[in-house]
């Protein structure tokens, strides 16, 4: 008789394949961010018209910040989940609160960062008419927002794929606005990515130790 009594792949004694702190795959957020790069580069190269190495490259700098944030999240998440497996209930609660606080701060700082950058790029557009810096800056900010909000995805592939579809649709529409104008309409994208991050921030408030274990097992 084949046993059905230990049906979970993640049984105690066997090292479970740990999800991230919010239950998703480690690969999702970096992969979503990477998948947006071709859109951004295309926009940049198309608009820079033979002069790619200019000060407009500043518009791509937010990507760097995005990768640092996501890498930080993955590392912190990995450590937290490894400790969680060994911890008793009180310790688990402590690790949970500390990690949740870290992620809340990470998202809050990214929201603030996105708002400041969007304001700066907009100011530049208004005062100097720098369309290229404005659009590349905004697409970078918006892409980071999408990638960071994908950390709450579930572990399954379908859910991960859904997010790629969202990211592709988001970026494609951005390109249409950037090329066909009016260019200021592109402000919708960083605004909506900030609002997505804010929504997730609210979701994190309700995220508790029980939700974490449910996602770990699911």
């Amino acid at each position: 008789m084949t046993s059905i009594t230990l049906p979970l792949k993640k049984i105690p004694g066997q090292r479970p394949r740990l999800p991230t702190f919010f239950g998703g795959r480690k690969i999702t957020a970096p992969a979503v961010l990477l998948s947006t790069i071709p859109f951004t580069l295309y926009l940049y190269l198309r608009l820079s018209q033979g002069n790619p190495l200019s000060y407009n490259l500043i518009g791509l700098l937010p990507y760097l910040g995005g990768f640092v944030s996501i890498f930080g999240y993955i590392m912190k998440s990995k450590r937290a989940m490894e400790m969680m497996i060994e911890a008793d209930l009180d310790e688990a609660e402590e690790i949970f609160m500390e990690s949740r606080d870290y992620f809340r701060k990470l998202l809050t700082s990214n929201i603030a960062f996105s708002i400041i950058l969007t304001a700066m790029f907009s100011y530049y557009l208004i005062t100097k008419g720098g369309t290229l810096l404005f659009t590349t800056g905004l697409i970078s900010v918006a892409s980071i927002g999408i990638a960071l909000s994908s950390i709450l995805r579930m572990y399954d592939w379908k859910s991960t794929l859904d997010y790629f579809i969202i990211a592709f649709a988001f970026e494609s529409v951005f390109l249409i606005f950037a090329f066909n104008g009016p260019v200021w309409l592109a402000l919708i994208f960083p605004a909506s990515s900030v609002s997505m991050m804010d929504m997730i921030l609210r979701g994190i408030k309700e995220y508790n130790l029980r939700s974490l274990f449910e996602k770990m097992i699911n």
Binding site: M1, T2, I4, T5, L8, I11, P12, A87, D88, F213
Partner: protein
């Protein structure tokens, strides 16, 4: 009254291969005039058998990874949980009350799993019993036990209506049988091939589950087994040894009966006469899983090969990949690559006639069909004296568990005495024809079914 039987299985027929599945398939195929339904809880989806014409309906409750759904009425979940928590102390469940509650409202296993009540009960139990231990393994373990229990409750109305319910083991299948029987007014037979409780205990010892969780696991399955025994109208065993254990664990068990397994002696017959030869074939037909103790079989090969030229065949599919790797590692370590062969899953009918001796070093068995099959082919057997094996083989052919030298010594004796080997083969065939034929087994179950309606 038309006899209508619902087979209730757990991880076996018709989605899995193995002794219990073969037994069930033979039983159904051998009773053309009886209508059967099959309900199976299984982690596999596909059917592994072409179903006989007398099977009306097959339902497989697929056990996938649990999904925690929220929104169930917590008062209701609380009432259900109150009836289920005795499982944690080893006490039998009150099936009448469980059934009454399960009729009160619709629910799914995923909703029960996602209820506040499930979480709070787990936390309370953890604090009372395991405070200070790692919480994650506990909660994962809790979920793996209760998820299937909830699935069992969810399945009560799904078993096709019949006048006799036949659970192929105690445990979840037995519990489902109890609840279904009470709901529909039919009768329940529980057949124990191996002892479910002992098998779970063995499974535990090989699972790598932290030892502090073992007690919880044992109590949980003790409860399911006792419930199955208490509410069934008849518990059948495949050997006398099991009956003693069953009465010991559940004093309120109503009735027990031993019905030996049987095989089709015409199918398992060979006219080939083995010549005396220099090279011998020793075989075992088994799933590759720790309970079958293939490691002892391999170690015994080393001893036999000191005196005889032989090849050792392990005929059967791999059920536990990690254990298979361990077996392969041992073969390499003992330098036996030329002499020990894993054939994978094959038609055993083609293999028995090739064997000079059949060996079965299992750590636990019910009433192994493979021994009957090899004897039917006139192949002498050596086996561990577990479960019903002593009721088939004489003392001379039994060995202790984990004893490769003892096993090797009995095998060698048979190889060195061709006349005795042949005589024992002939006697084995006669024994199977007279006591362990499929016709006899089917006729005894038919009689039992008729008694139940």
């Amino acid at each position: 009254m038309q006899l209508n039987v619902a087979m209730i299985s757990e991880g076996s027929y018709p989605t899995g291969k193995g002794g219990v599945s073969e037994w069930c398939h033979s039983l159904i195929s051998g009773m053309n005039d009886v209508r059967f339904n099959v309900f199976s809880m299984s982690s596999e989806k596909g059917l592994r058998y072409a179903l006989p014409g007398n099977v009306d309906e097959v339902l497989v409750e697929h056990l996938h990874s649990p999904d925690f759904k929220h929104g169930i009425d917590e008062n209701y979940a609380g009432d259900l949980m109150k009836e289920l928590t005795p499982a944690l102390s080893g006490a039998p469940l009150d099936c009448d009350e469980l059934l009454r509650l399960s009729k009160r409202s619709e629910f799914s296993a995923d909703e029960l799993l996602g209820s506040d009540v499930n979480w709070n009960t787990a936390i309370a139990y953890y604090k009372e019993n395991f405070d200070g231990k790692a919480f994650a393994p506990f909660y994962i373990f809790w979920t793996s036990l209760f998820y299937i229990l909830y699935k069992t409750l969810e399945s009560v109305g799904k078993v096709p209506m019949s006048n006799v319910y036949h659970a192929l083991n105690a445990g979840y299948a037995g519990l489902l049988g109890c609840l279904t029987k009470l709901k529909t007014g039919g009768s329940l037979i529980v057949t124990e091939h191996g002892l479910y409780f002992k098998e779970r205990r063995f499974e535990l010892s090989n699972s790598g589950i932290p030892s502090w969780l073992h007690g919880m696991y044992e109590k949980f399955f003790e409860s399911l087994v006792r419930t199955s025994y208490r509410y069934s109208d008849m518990v059948t065993s495949v050997c006398r040894d099991h009956t003693r254990f069953q009465r010991g664990i559940e004093p309120n068990l109503k009735e027990t009966r031993v019905i030996y397994n049987g095989i089709d002696t015409e199918k398992f017959r060979s006219n080939k006469v083995k010549n005396d030869r220099e090279h011998f074939n020793i075989g075992t037909v088994t799933r590759i899983t720790p309970i079958k103790d293939i490691l002892t079989f391999i170690r015994s090969a080393k001893h036999v090969l000191e005196k005889h030229d032989a090849t050792f065949y392990i005929v059967g599919g791999v059920e536990d990949e990690e254990y298979f790797e361990e077996c392969q590692g041992l073969v390499e370590e003992l330098d036996l690559e030329e002499h020990v062969k894993f054939t994978g899953f094959q038609d055993s009918l083609e293999w028995y006639p090739k064997f000079d001796v059949f060996a079965l070093p299992s750590l636990s068995e019910g009433f192994p069909l493979t021994i009957l099959e090899s004897l039917s082919f006139g192949v002498p057997c050596v086996a561990t004296g577990v479960g019903g094996v002593p009721e088939i083989l004489g003392e001379d052919y039994l060995v202790e568990k984990w004893d490769p030298e003892g096993l090797a010594s009995k095998i060698s004796w048979l190889l060195e005495n061709p006349e005795d080997r042949r005589r024992i083969g002939v006697e084995g065939r006669e024994l199977v024809e007279s006591k362990f034929s499929l016709e006899r087994m089917i006729s005894e179950y038919r009689k039992l079914y008729e008694e139940m309606i």
